[in-house]
């Protein structure tokens, strides 16, 4: 009788983007949203057939801006 360890080939699935990739993406999105919200400021919520709440758009832009700042701080604290 043989005893042994059965080896399994594991296919690990992982998210292909690192935190720094996501950080750059957040930075781009924050800039786009901040510019959009600034440009939309003098107009009403109704942009033709498209309706958007400007206050919430600005809030989302600011949240992304803060998120980017947090990732940069993380980069400074943990450079590797």
């Amino acid at each position: 009788m043989k005893y042994g360890i059965k080896l399994w080939k594991l296919d690990l699935v992982y998210f292909p983007l690192s935190i720094w990739d996501v950080s750059v993406w957040i930075a781009f999105m924050a800039i786009i949203l901040l510019i959009t919200s600034e440009l939309l400021a003098p107009y009403s919520n109704n942009l033709g057939d498209f309706v958007i709440d400007k206050k919430r758009l600005r809030l989302a832009a600011l949240v992304l801006g803060v998120a980017f700042t947090v990732t940069v701080l993380l980069h400074i604290i943990m450079p590797t």
Partner: protein
């Protein structure tokens, strides 16, 4: 044989007058009911009305984005991950930045027209000549005995005669529609709901702020917070208060096609709300002296006057 009664008999004349008055009131009640039904139908249409596409776009983007993200994890693809991240984000943003309630301004006009038509018909049928006067209410926090609680509501008094005579406090407190002494009617101002909304945005009651504060805060609330007009100016001018509204959401109510007469004396919902705010802040009665509307309906200028009780 009984001789026919002469036509100029005072008793029969009185009876006829009473009958015609009753018939007028009945006719007004029926008209009012019909207009209320019409108003309800329009409100329902407004709710069913144009659905904003931002919600649909948001859902589609979100679904594709999530699928792309799942695909990126399975295939370990950076490109798919970026695409998925972007689509998911924009989908979520469209859903988040979608206004909860949105109706087009044309539907806003449609629902307001019935009220003005009713007021027009009532004034015409009753042959009332007085100018509408906005009577300030008592502050909400003020203590009043039960029988005077009706004084806490903002009302507009339209007198039968073209002289400024105010009804007594007791009569106004009864919350009656027809007033006998002096003869006239008491109605809720068209901007009654709007003035509550303005107070909510302002986070203060108009009875608690000064006139200067009102002049400085009202344009911000109307233009930036509620977006009821593109521009709004309010300033005192020769014992009157002048208000200039540019591109109001209620501008179409002033069009000659609508042919509304009462809108010039009682004001559109926005100018009525301003009158209510002025009455509440000053604690005085307010009346609309005149209004000028530009031919393209873009600019509406209204002059208000405060009256001493």
């Amino acid at each position: 044989m009984v001789p026919p009664k002469p036509e100029n008999d005072p008793k029969s004349n009185e009876k006829n007058a009473k009958k015609s008055e009753q018939a007028t009131v009945e006719y007004l009640m029926i008209t009012l009911q019909n207009l209320q039904k019409e108003n309800e139908i329009l409100k329902r249409e407004a709710l069913k009305g144009k659905r904003t596409p931002s919600g649909k776009i948001g859902f589609i983007l979100l679904t594709i984005g999530v699928l792309a993200l799942a695909g990126s994890v399975i295939n370990t693809s950076t490109v798919l991950a970026f695409i998925g991240l972007g689509l998911t984000f924009w989908g979520a943003l469209f859903l988040f930045a979608r206004p909860l309630k949105f109706v087009t301004s044309t539907l806003l006009d449609s629902t307001a027209i019935s009220s003005y038509t009713t007021i027009d018909r009532m004034i015409l049928d009753l042959d009332y000549k007085g100018k509408p006067i906005y009577i300030p209410p008592y502050p909400k926090e003020a203590y009043l005995p039960e029988y005077l609680k009706g004084l806490k509501e903002m009302v507009v008094f339209i007198s039968a005669e073209d002289i400024v005579v105010m009804p007594t406090i007791e009569e106004m407190a009864k919350k009656q529609f027809f007033l006998k002494n002096p003869k006239g009617i008491c109605i809720a101002p068209p901007g009654y709901g709007l003035v509550n909304l303005l107070e909510k945005e302002l986070k203060a009651e108009f009875t608690q702020i000064s006139l200067d504060q009102l002049y400085s805060s009202l344009p911000t609330v109307i233009v930036n917070n509620l977006e009821l007009a593109r521009e709004f100016e309010i300033n005192p001018e020769n014992n009157l208060i002048r208000v200039k509204i540019v591109d109001s959401v209620y501008k179409d109510l002033y069009s000659s096609e609508q042919g509304l007469k009462s809108i010039h004396s009682i004001g559109c919902p926005l100018s009525s709300a301003v009158a209510c705010a002025l009455a509440k802040t000053t604690g005085k009665m307010v009346t609309i002296v005149k209004d000028i509307v530009s031919p393209d309906l873009q600019t509406i200028e209204v002059w208000y006057k405060t009256l001493e009780a």
